[in-house]
């Protein structure tokens, strides 16, 4: 009997201790520290080896480029460069650097650093390299004086300027001193930074994230309201990010949460959910290079078999805008009068009847872990079965899908995914997705039609934006009429922030993760 009492007492004291220890986490953040919960891990800090949206915060806050995309609709703003000139033949771009910009170690940002940066990108062959590898030869970029950079493209390009922000300028002296075995300082730079950006790195752990403090001498200057410290942490689970926001552990998280979570956050009095139309289209690739998908009738049948309304209004709770063409609604070059497809099984059957030959089981690809792609695949499968087509869904991780996408044999018949903004130019979408010279690279639909390609190639070198817009509009309409893919929606960004956070500036490039404009009340 005694032992029962002892046992009970022991358990009670253990429980009491446990409860008192758990408590509620106190949030003793300094008033001007901003913590962001990110869905992907920051596994490297090297700005030249990664170029994805998930890890943009390190590049955006610790590095600068000659130009920068700001706001929505995106404006190309001079940044490290104060002015630029384009030669008449469109092949030479001369940038004048502003004076007074410095790296975090105090040394000035000079033209030679810009040259080193572009050479480094070309040499490492990673990250944003495909934007430049076709038009810039290694060794062709010059620095005639400390504040002038000359890019000598091998052909006129109208998109070059739009892609200039992707050249993040690194401290060439510092990196050269850290070079080991010709790695361009890569081993060191993956864990450190050599930038001039608004914030400088104070702490980094690839398993946790990074911390940075305000760089007071940044050339853009600071008002009287700013953040002293920023921290970007990896929190993989959606629910954890949401709960952390509600608890006050974080002050912000990514703006592409499922709508159910957004509703939850909107309902909380401590939260402020900002809403913007982004440029990120959701679509399904159709493998145009494989029989019988090369038959436009089959592709049209597929396009009429997807329940767009159910997907947008029910599964996504009406939180996105229908975007029936391969260019986002809110950028120039979007054909405003294009009708696109609707969920119409009768029409689908009509076109299906015109398809010659047997149709094998259709493989619909989805990205494992991205519920929306799986739901879209299931919805499509449902529609297809109603018109008598058999299909199977294959959900694989991005590491598998991204490899298969580049191989004509291994590529799925269809694949659901998004196309984000890397630079605000229609070439980023229709210009890459359906260009013949991008087949197997950024064109994973194996779509190559001479009439469309002519328009796209012209637009790449035409300097007049109005003319370019006309080309892209026409090309987008043609691809849509040709049912080159199934185009569903353009994403809306719902940025959830603690209501103390002020000054957030959203741009589809950067997704509001640039912290220099932000302060906390």
């Amino acid at each position: 009997m005694k032992y029962l009492k002892v046992f009970k007492a022991l358990m009670l004291s253990v429980a009491l201790t446990a409860v008192s220890i758990m408590g509620v986490s106190t949030n003793s953040f300094a008033k001007s520290k901003f913590v962001f919960a990110n869905s992907s891990p920051y596994d490297t800090l090297d700005p030249h080896v990664i170029y994805d949206v998930g890890r943009v915060a390190s590049r955006l806050n610790m590095y600068d480029g000659l130009m920068r995309w700001l706001d929505n609709p995106p404006q190309l703003t001079p940044w490290l460069a104060e002015s630029y000139e384009i030669s008449a033949d469109g092949k030479t771009y001369t940038f004048k650097l502003r004076k007074g910009a410095t790296f975090h170690d105090g040394s000035p940002v000079e033209a030679k650093d810009v040259v080193y940066s572009i050479e480094r990108i070309l040499a490492l062959k990673k990250g944003a390299v495909s934007l430049f590898s076709k038009s810039i030869e290694p060794g062709s970029t010059q620095a005639p004086d400390n504040h002038t950079v000359v890019f000598n493209l091998n052909a006129a390009s109208s998109i070059f300027l739009a892609t200039v922000p992707a050249i993040h300028v690194v401290n060439s002296d510092l990196l050269k001193s850290k070079e080991v075995d010709g790695d361009w300082g890569g081993t060191w730079l993956s864990k450190n930074e050599a930038g001039s950006g608004s914030f400088e790195l104070t702490r980094y752990d690839p398993a946790i994230g990074f911390q940075a403090k305000r760089y007071a001498n940044h050339f853009m200057g600071w008002g009287d309201k700013y953040l002293d410290e920023i921290e970007f942490r990896t929190v993989k689970e959606i629910n954890s990010r949401v709960l952390g926001l509600l608890n006050g552990d974080f002050h912000g998280t990514d703006g592409y949460l499922p709508q159910d979570q957004v509703k939850r956050l909107k309902a909380d009095s401590n939260m402020n959910v900002l809403e913007e139309e982004s440029m990120r289209i959701f679509y399904s690739i159709i493998h145009n290079g494989r029989k019988p998908f090369d038959d436009v009738n089959l592709r049209k049948a597929l396009s009429y078999a997807f329940d767009y309304d159910a997907f947008i209004n029910n599964i996504l709770s009406g939180s996105v805008a229908r975007n029936p063409v391969p260019v986002p609604n809110n950028i120039w070059g979007n054909p405003k009068d294009a009708k696109g497809y609707t969920y119409d099984l009768e029409k689908a059957k009509e076109y299906l009847a015109k398809v010659k030959g047997p149709i094998p089981e259709i493989t619909i690809g989805a990205l494992a872990g991205y519920g929306q792609t799986e739901q879209a695949a299931a919805l499509l499968q449902n529609g297809l079965s109603k018109i008598g087509l058999k299909s199977k869904i294959v959900a694989e991780p991005w590491s598998v899908a991204s490899k298969k996408m580049r191989d004509e044999q291994q590529m799925y018949d269809m694949l659901w995914l998004w196309r984000s903004t890397y630079y605000a130019d229609p070439n980023n979408w229709v210009g890459e997705m359906y260009a013949c010279d991008q087949v197997g690279a950024r064109n994973n639909s194996w779509y190559c039609k001479p009439e469309v390609d002519k328009l796209l190639m012209e637009a790449r070198v035409e300097p007049d934006q109005a003319k370019r817009a006309a080309n892209y509009e026409k090309a987008a309409k043609m691809v849509t009429d040709d049912a080159g893919g199934i185009f569903v929606y353009n994403t809306k960004w719902f940025g959830p922030y603690n209501k103390k956070v002020k000054g957030v500036r959203f741009s589809p490039i950067g997704n509001a993760q640039e912290m220099r404009w932000v302060h906390m009340e």
Partner: protein
């Protein structure tokens, strides 16, 4: 043989917990067989109604609806088919591989038997789940590959068990006698040793079913099982996570299903073991 079977059944019937287990297993089999008749919305395995997504439990949807608007209760019933198929075939294959290997290894006392046991040891050296995940991921997510992965990781258990039992059976006089009388190794193994160790195998198989089902569900949870829109229980739990805590029914239903099924096999297996294998009986006089 039938005498002992009748005896076993009558003893089982008297043990309450085994009876509960047997009922649960019978329930699983019946549900799997008659799912199309029992399910209120059998078409919901492949059809979706997005306007009705994530509704709570009600008279029309006993366990609510999932992210695509399908009736969870109906899908769970069909999920039973998948569970049974995976468990039975995987265990069947492991037994078919493991038992002969164990018999051969146990009967012989040469490098062959040592080698076979070493190979089993290699497979047993890694946590089963890791090996299963690696194999399933390599082959791609599908029901066949889950079965393959499970068979490949479970056969060593049977090989080991049969090996030990065979070795001790070989010391039995009747076995020695039959060998002395010139019976071929095959005869000895199949007609003398096997019948005697069959009770161990049966007990182990029943108890092993539970573990197999759990591992299969874990594979489904990690996305390595049958792909969408399969109503596999583990996969459904994974799907439900992003809708918690509001849609609590979404995660509860498949979990309870797994629990009941595994419980059934565990209880029944325990009962069987107490009857067939008194040596290893656990003192649980109730």
């Amino acid at each position: 043989m039938f005498e002992s079977a009748k005896f076993i059944i009558s003893k089982l019937a008297k043990d309450r917990t085994s009876l509960v287990g047997a009922c649960l297993i019978a329930g699983l089999i019946l549900i799997a067989l008659f799912a199309p008749l029992l399910a209120p919305y059998p078409q919901d395995v492949t059809e979706f109604h997005p306007p009705e997504r994530l509704l709570g439990p009600s008279m029309s949807h006993f366990f609510g609806t999932d992210r695509m608007g399908s009736d969870i209760f109906s899908r769970m019933l069909f999920g039973a088919r998948i569970t049974i198929a995976i468990a039975v075939i995987a265990i069947g294959v492991s037994v078919l591989i493991g038992v002969p290997i164990g018999l051969i290894a146990g009967y012989n006392k040469n490098w062959i038997s040592d080698g076979l046991m070493r190979v089993s040891d290699i497979f047993l050296a890694v946590p089963q789940i890791i090996l299963a995940i690696a194999i399933a991921q390599t082959l791609g997510p599908s029901i066949e590959n889950v079965i393959l992965a499970l068979s490949a990781t479970y056969w060593p258990f049977w090989a080991r068990l049969v090996y030990a039992e065979t070795r001790s059976a070989l010391t039995e006089t009747y076995v020695e006698a039959s060998i002395a009388l010139g019976a071929s190794p095959f005869r000895v193994m199949v007609f003398h040793v096997l019948p005697n160790i069959s009770s161990s195998i049966i007990v182990r198989t029943t108890i092993g079913m539970g573990g197999t089902i759990l591992t299969a569900a874990a594979l489904g949870f990690l996305g390595l099982g049958p792909p969408a829109p399969s109503p596999e229980w583990g996969r459904t739990i994974a799907e439900s996570r992003e809708f918690l805590p509001e849609a609590w029914w979404y995660a509860t239903a498949p979990g309870v299903a797994i629990f009941l099924v595994v419980m059934g096999f565990n209880l029944f297996g325990d009962g069987l073991r107490d009857i067939l294998d008194p040596r290893t009986r656990r003192s649980h006089d109730g």
